[in-house]
């Protein structure tokens, strides 16, 4: 019973390609997030959706476009991939009953390698 799942686990692609990463949570949470973890393990928030509405949109190139078809799913589409996009992308979810105290549960991550 995976709580937060992501597909694919690994993604290897060429520069300039377009790719998508999918995330699903079965925890009944209202809020989902995308994080990027670089090679130095720095974990940085990219986006957050609450009930399909974008609530956090950090300074991320507009080549990155999140989409939330429903509150259990959050996808990340990346256009024109660049070498610097290589990283591990984590999806997370939380209840957001109290934004200051909500615990975020992370998915297993998608390792993206751009060649």
């Amino acid at each position: 019973d995976t709580a937060v799942s992501q597909t694919p686990k690994y993604l290897v692609t060429q520069m300039g390609n377009d790719k998508s990463i999918k995330c699903e949570q079965n925890l009944g949470h209202d809020t989902m997030y995308w994080y990027k973890q670089d090679s130095k393990k720095f974990l940085k928030i990219m986006f957050s959706y609450n009930n399909k509405e974008l609530i956090i949109n950090e300074t991320v190139p507009n080549r990155f476009s999140p989409k939330s078809p429903d509150k259990a799913h959050l996808n990340l589409h990346i256009n024109s991939l660049e070498l610097g996009d290589s990283a591990v992308y984590f999806c997370a979810s939380s209840h957001l009953t109290d934004p200051f105290t909500d615990t975020q549960y992370f998915g297993p991550g998608t390792r993206l390698t751009v060649l």
Partner: protein, 111 residues
């Protein structure tokens, strides 16, 4: 702004203790501690709230000094399973719901 963790890395023998610190230049509402093992997702350990009590997860405890905007994670009688990278995530007043993570502290526990 990103909180600062210290030390960057710790190597321990089983049974030894360690302290990991997390400092912020912003007024904090809460501090969240996560542990990430190699190749895995970060896993929530505990949360410290402004005005709250010291928390504990097994033999790991943490405190939050609101005046100094600092949190410390105490690992007592470390076990091999404690190895991993520990991250503090901070939520500032006015930064609703946004967790800002520190750079991480890598802990290695040896037999």
């Amino acid at each position: 702004q990103q909180p600062v963790q210290s030390p960057q890395a710790v190597i321990l023998r089983e049974g030894e203790d360690a302290v990991i610190n997390c400092s912020s230049s912003k007024a904090l509402y809460s501090v969240h501690w996560y542990r990430q093992k190699h190749g895995e997702a970060p896993v929530f350990l505990m949360i410290l709230l402004k005005g709250g009590e010291q928390m504990r997860h097994e033999k790991i405890s943490a405190s939050f000094n609101e005046k100094k905007q600092q949190s410390s994670l105490y690992l007592t009688a470390s076990q091999l399973s404690y190895s991993g990278t520990y991250f503090c995530g901070t939520v500032s007043s006015g930064n609703t719901g946004k967790l800002i993570f520190g750079q991480g502290t890598t802990l290695q526990v040896k037999p």
